[in-house]
Amino acid sequence: MATNATQTPDTGQHLEVSRKRKRKVPTEVSIFLVLVGIALLFEILGWVVRGDSFLMNPQRLLIMILQMSIIGIIAIGVTQIIITGGIDLSSGSVLALTAMVTASLAQQSDYARAVYPALTDLPWLIPLAAGVLVGALCGLVNGALISFAVIPPFIATLGMMVSARGLARAYTDGQPVSMLTDQFTWIGSGANPVIIFLAVAVIFHIALKYTRYGKYTYAIGANPQAARVSGINVRRHLVLVYTIGGLLAGLAGVVAAARAGTGQAGMGLMYELDAIAAAVIGGTSLAGGYGRVTGTVIGALILGVMLSGFTFLGVDAYYQDIVKGAIIVAAVVIDQYRQRKRNKAA
C-alpha cells in the first residue's frame, strides 16, 4: 500500500494530468487513405476493363498533376478563405482576367496584332507581377466589400465572379491574346506548374500553422466576436485574407496563360467550384475554424485522379461530372457529421 502513488497528497492526485502535447491522428491521414483507395480502384478497374495499369504510367501521372496544379494553387487561397468562415466564388473568373492581362504584357514584338504594340518582349517578371497584382486587386475589392460594406462573402464574390469574367471578355473584345514570349511561357512549361503549386502549398502550410496570420485566420473562423475582443482587427485581417486569395488566383492565371501560351476569356470556367471542392474534400469545414493545406492538396489530387482515371477508362465526361458532384456532396455530409460530433462533445 505504501507506494509512491498513495503518498501523493490528495489534491495533487486529483489534479494530476498529463500536459504533454499528444498527437491525434489528423484528418489528412484518412483523406490520404481515400486517395490511395481511389487510385487502387482505378488500378484494378484498369486491369479488368483495359488490361492495362493505371498507375504505372509516369506520363499520365504527370499530366494529371499538371492539370491539378492550377486548381491546386487557387484551392489553397480558397482554403484560407473558407477557414475564416467565408467563401470565394470569384477565383475562376479572376484567373481568366489575370490570364488576359498577363498575356497582353507578354507578347512577342514580331506579332502584328499585339494588344500593346509598344509593350512587347518585356522580361517575364513584368507580366507575372502584373497578373499577380490584378488578382490581388480583385481580392482586395472582395475583402473590402465583405469587411466594410458588410456584404456576405457569397454575394460579394458572386458579384466579382460575374464582373471579372465580363472584364476579361471586354479587355480584348473577346479576342484571345497569343504569341507569347518564350521566357514567359517557360513559367508554365515542363513540371514548373507543379513546382509552383508545391511551393505555394509549403508556404501556406507554414503560414497557417506558425504565423500570426494563420492563427488569426483560424480564430476569426472559429468565433469572429471572440477574435475581436481578443484584440484582433477582424476587418483588416479579412481584407488581407481575401487579397491573398485573389493574389493566388492571379498567380494561377499567370501559370495557366504561360502553360497554354495564350490568354483567353473563357479560361478557368468553374475552377472556383473545383477549388472549393478540393478544400472541402480535404476536410476544410465550411463552418470555418478548421482546415489544412495538406488536406486541400490531397483533395485536389483526389479530383485529379478521378478525372484522369475516368478518362483512362473511357468513361464519358457527363458521367464524370455526376460522380464528381456526388463526391463533393459526400465530403460535405462528412463535414456535417464531424461538426455534429464536435458539438455533441461541447
Partner: protein, 516 residues
C-alpha cells in the same frame, strides 16, 4: 432482488410521481452516471444540486428521453417507461424546458406553442382563430400577458422562456424539467416564474429544478437531491438542509471560506472615468479605480453594466466623456488599443464572445498575446508560448488532458480558467471581469475568487461585474451600483449589504424596494 420487487409493487412507491431507479450511463472513457436514483413526489418542486459534471444534465436527458440509460429505469406513476426519444417522453407527460431556447423566431407565439398539434378546420387547414383562443386560455391559466400573434423574435429572453414554459404546460405534462430557468431573468421575471411554478405545484405537477443559485433553492424547492461525480449523494426535504450543508455535500469537503477577500494596500488611481457615455445606452458614468482595488459593479440585467465594460475595452467606443489611465488621457477605440494601455476584459458570455469552441486549449489561451513579444517577424514563437500556456494551466489548475484538447470538451469552470489565463498572459494592469463565475461549479468558483484576490494583491486594478450579490459583497472593496444606464450610488465594503444594493439597483427615484 426480492426486496426490489416488493418495493416496486408496494403502494408507497406509487406515491412518487416520477422515479429513476439505479440509472447508469457511460460514454466512451467516462461514466457520467452510476447507480443514480431520484424520487419526485407529486405537487412538489425538486431541486437538483451538484457541481458542473456531477451528472445532473445527463440524468435530465435520460428522463426526457434524449439519452437511453445503459442500466436502470424511469418510472412514471409507478409504471416503467420505455423512452426511445424526446417525443416519447413528451407524450408520456414529461416536458423539458431547455437551457438553449428552441423557438422559431419568425413564427408567432401561438404557432410556436402549438407546432405539430395545430388545430385544423374542416378543410384540413390550420384554424388560426381556434389556435389564438387556445393560446389565450393557456395564458390565462398561467397569468401570462402577451399577444399570441406576436412574432417570437420580438420577445425578450424572459418572454421566450415564458413561452417555453407555456408550451410545456400545454402538453399537460405531469413532470416539468427546468434547467437553470432563471439564468437570464431579472428579479421581477423570476418572481413571475415562481408564481407560475407555484400554480403548477398546486395542480399536482412535479417540477425538477436545476440551479446553481442557493437562495432560489430555498425559496422554491420542497425537496433537494444532491449529486457529485455522477453519483447520487443525498436527498432530503429542503427544510432539513442548509446552504452550507448542501455545498459540503456537493463538493464532498468543507468549503472553509467562500470569499477569500484579503485587505491589500490600495495604491494610486490607475483608471479614471469621467462622464463616460454611449449614446442611447448609458451616460454620466464617472469613477476611479486604484491599483490593488476591486471595484464591484452591481445592477440588474439591462442596467448597462456590461456596456460600460465593453466601452472601456474599446468594443463599443464611447460617444462622450473621457478616460484617463495613470492620469493620462486615453482613447480606447478598439480592443487592441485598450490592450496596449494594459486593459483586459473577460467577457460576460463565454460562448458568444470568449471561446473559440472548435479550437484547442492552447489556441484559445495564446490568442491575445500573439503580438506582444511572442513573435519574431510574422512567425509565432510557439515553443515559448507552449511553455507559458503550460505554466498558466498549471497555475490556474485547469483540468485538461492536454493543451491540444478541444476546449469544447472542457467543463464550464475549466473553460473560464483558460479564458482568464488568456488575459493574465497579457499582464493587464486593469482587469475587467464580467460575470467571472457565471454557470461554473462551486469549487472552480472559489479558485477564481482566490485568484482575483491574488491579482489585486499584486497591484492589478480589478473591475468586477456580477449579478450575484454575495459575490459582489464578498469580493469588492467598493461597489458601484447602476440602474438604467446611470450610476445610482457607490457603497463602501463596510456599508454595503444586499438591501442597500438592491435599493440602488432598483431605482434612484422610486421608493426603495426592500428584499429579504
Amino acid at each position: 432482488m426480492a426486496t426490489m420487487t416488493a418495493e416496486t409493487l408496494s403502494p408507497d412507491t406509487a406515491e412518487y410521481l416520477l422515479e429513476v431507479v439505479d440509472a447508469r450511463k457511460a460514454f466512451p472513457g467516462v461514466v457520467a452516471l452510476d447507480n443514480v436514483q431520484l424520487k419526485i413526489r407529486p405537487g412538489t418542486v425538486h431541486a437538483l444540486m451538484g457541481e458542473n459534471g456531477a451528472g445532473k444534465s445527463t440524468l435530465m436527458k435520460i428522463i426526457a428521453g434524449i439519452y437511453i440509460p445503459d442500466q436502470g429505469e424511469v418510472r412514471l406513476h409507478g409504471r416503467p417507461l420505455a423512452l426511445n426519444g424526446p417525443l416519447d417522453a413528451l407524450e408520456a407527460g414529461i416536458a423539458m424546458i431547455h437551457q438553449e431556447l428552441n423557438l422559431m423566431p419568425f413564427m408567432t407565439i401561438a404557432e410556436n406553442i402549438w407546432i405539430r398539434r395545430e388545430p385544423l378546420n374542416a378543410l384540413g387547414l390550420v384554424d388560426h382563430a381556434k389556435m389564438h383562443r387556445m393560446t389565450e386560455a393557456l395564458f390565462e391559466r398561467l397569468g401570462i400577458d402577451m399577444d399570441p400573434e406576436t412574432e417570437v423574435r420580438h420577445l425578450t429572453v424572459a418572454g421566450r422562456q415564458m413561452i417555453e414554459i407555456a408550451k410545456a404546460v400545454s402538453y399537460e405534462s405531469d413532470v416539468l424539467i427546468m434547467d437553470e430557468p432563471t439564468s437570464a431573468l431579472t428579479d421581477r421575471e423570476v418572481e413571475h416564474l415562481f408564481r407560475i411554478i407555484n400554480d403548477l405545484r398546486a395542480q399536482g405537477k412535479g417540477i425538477i429544478y436545476i440551479t446553481h443559485k442557493m437562495d432560489e433553492v430555498f425559496e422554491i424547492a420542497d425537496d433537494i437531491s444532491v449529486f457529485r461525480d455522477g453519483q447520487f449523494i443525498h436527498a432530503a426535504p429542503a427544510g432539513e438542509l442548509s446552504s452550507d450543508k448542501i455545498i459540503q455535500l456537493m463538493v464532498g469537503r468543507e468549503v472553509t471560506q467562500m470569499f477569500p477577500k484579503e485587505e491589500v494596500p490600495i495604491g494610486e488611481v490607475v483608471l479614471s472615468v469621467k462622464d463616460l457615455a454611449l449614446e442611447g445606452v448609458f451616460e454620466h458614468i464617472s469613477f476611479d479605480v486604484h491599483a490593488g482595488e476591486i471595484l464591484g459593479i452591481a445592477g440588474l440585467v439591462g442596467s448597462g453594466r456590461t456596456n460600460v465594460a465593453e466601452t472601456l475595452f474599446g468594443v463599443t467606443p464611447a460617444t462622450g466623456g473621457s478616460i484617463a489611465i495613470d492620469g493620462e488621457a486615453a482613447v480606447l477605440s478598439s480592443p487592441h488599443q485598450a490592450m496596449l494601455r494594459g486593459l483586459a476584459l473577460l467577457t460576460e458570455d463565454r460562448k458568444e464572445t470568449g471561446l473559440f469552441l472548435g479550437l484547442s486549449v492552447l489556441e484559445n489561451m495564446e490568442i491575445a498575446v500573439l503580438r506582444d513579444g511572442y513573435t519574431r517577424g510574422a512567425f509565432v514563437e510557439q515553443r515559448r508560448l507552449d511553455h507559458e500556456c503550460d505554466e498558466m494551466t498549471e497555475l490556474l489548475r485547469v483540468k485538461t488532458p492536454s493543451l491540444d484538447e478541444r476546449i469544447g470538451n472542457l467543463s464550464g469552470g475549466n473553460q473560464q480558467k483558460v479564458l482568464i489565463g488568456r488575459w493574465l498572459m497579457t499582464h493587464p494592469r486593469i482587469l475587467i471581469l464580467d460575470e467571472p463565475t457565471r454557470g461554473i461549479d462551486v469549487g472552480a468558483k472559489a479558485e477564481i475568487h482566490k485568484l482575483i484576490t491574488k491579482l489585486a494583491a499584486k497591484g492589478v486594478a480589478v473591475i468586477m461585474i456580477s449579478s450575484e450579490l454575495p459575490e459582489v459583497l464578498g469580493m469588492s472593496d467598493r461597489i458601484m451600483v447602476m440602474h438604467e444606464g446611470r450610476v445610482t450610488g457607490f457603497l463602501d465594503r463596510a456599508d454595503a449589504n444586499q438591501v442597500n444594493i438592491m435599493e440602488l439597483a432598483s431605482s434612484p427615484v422610486e421608493q426603495p424596494v426592500v428584499e429579504d
